[in-house]
Amino acid sequence: MSGAKGLTRQQMADRVAREFQDGWIVNLGVGIPTMCSNTDIGGRDITYHSENGVIGYGGIAPEGQEDMNLVNAGGQNVTLKPGAAVVHHADSFGVIRGGRIDATVMGAYQVSMTGDFANWKLKGQKGGGIGGAMDLAACAKRVFIILEHVTRDGLPRLVTECDLPVTARAVVTLAMTNYGLFEPTGSGFRLREIAPGLTVAEIRARTGGTLVVADGLNEIATT
């Protein structure tokens, strides 16, 4: 192994944000996903939706200018873009279940070759933290997962089958790890782009299930 750690958290968020297309409505989950709203993706017009009913939020509020009654899914004080609207929680999940979310970005513990993912419960845990993840996973047009490629113990998080309780089945469009950008294909993971400093062999060694490499594999552009 080269020991390369691959992308930083912000670089993962940046790469995912570059998938967003003009006019999309995007929901960002707690943690690394919220960093996507910091990424400059040119003139593309993205409406960020937060599960608490905020449609059209902007960046994090500058210190001292926070509105204490305006937060994103992670509880951070955000700003609003012109044209924003606020709805209540049932209407907000109406937006989600109604299929209006073009992409949702979430963290996870595991993603499987068949597009299942797990992010609400650890092994043997009583209860867990579901939040809005199951609604978003079941209903968004695209589910983008950002996760570290391996656990602290070095085990793969891209797996043949999830051994943690799943959040939804056969929904993951893209899995972004610090090693690269992957698509679950049903029978494996297709490596679409690779992080600088990593080799396909290193990634294969640390990925559960079959790895298929895209023709003319590109390196992920970082800044």
Binding site: V54, G75, K126, G129, D135
Partner: protein, 245 residues
């Protein structure tokens, strides 16, 4: 319009809540959370409560009145919520410890299903189907149905005895307006409850002080109003501290 809804204190507003009640608390993170009413319920002492809220309380400081405190105070039989544990596995919530020890029961519900079950209770819909949770542990042993080729889970309305909510503005008829993400669960909880008690940021206006087109929660759903006093007597949303417990 009933216009005798204003109460002089939080203590007075929650005084008659009996043991065994089902009570929902609005709020998503700090905005819209009825901290003052929750504190009054801690002091009032009703027991064997079933509590409904998105979370059982945050992991961050300052610690505000929350379900975890009511559990620590021995008042809670069961919680219905979208999180029995924090999102971050390394944050251990006071509630989680009691839950794992078996001191309190919990029903874990996806957030959108929780909102919709409350909305259904308010709207007289006893049950509905949702795609959320299909294929997961939550669906095990539960009734599902294929509709137009997709599988859905049957979910039931969640009616409440009381809703504790928080809003920015009220008139004496009980009409409410929320500021920004203060809205969250509050409007649907108000419709689901027999009795809704609202804590209000601003002085209560005379009836008609809110234009009928601008009302977020109609006064017919709101039974008691209490104005939140300034700090330090009243509890207000505070800036998040990154320091953890």
């Amino acid at each position: 319009m009933q216009t005798n809804k204003l109460r002089g204190s939080f203590q007075d507003a929650v005084a008659d809540i009996p043991d065994g009640s089902t009570i929902a608390f609005g709020g998503f993170a700090m905005p819209g959370t009825p901290f003052n009413l929750i504190r009054a319920l801690l002091r009032q002492g009703a027991k064997r409560l079933t509590l409904v809220a998105n979370t059982t309380g945050g992991a961050r400081q300052p610690r505000m009145p929350d379900i975890g405190m009511l559990v620590e105070n021995g008042q809670v039989a069961k919680v219905i919520c979208a999180f029995t544990a924090a999102t971050r596995p390394t944050d251990v919530l006071p509630f989680t410890k009691h839950y794992e020890a078996g001191d309190v029961a919990a029903e874990l519900v996806p957030q959108g299903t929780l909102a919709e079950r409350l909305r259904a209770a308010g709207a007289g819909i006893p049950a509905f189907y949702t795609p959320t949770g299909v294929g997961t542990e939550l669906a095990e042993g539960r009734e599902t149905r294929m509709i137009n080729g997709r599988e859905y889970l049957l979910e039931y309305a969640l009616p409440l005895d009381y809703a504790f909510i928080r809003a920015r503005t009220a008139d004496a008829a009980g009409n409410l307006r929320y500021h920004r993400s203060q809205r969250n669960f509050n409007p649907v909880m108000a419709t689901a409850a027999r009795i809704t008690i609202a804590e209000i940021d601003e002085p209560v206006l005379p009836p008609g002080g809110i234009d009928p087109d601008d009302v977020h929660t109609p006064g017919i759903y709101v039974h008691r109003l209490v104005q939140v006093p300034p700090e330090p007597d009243g509890l207000w949303p505070a800036r998040r501290q990154e320091k953890r417990r």
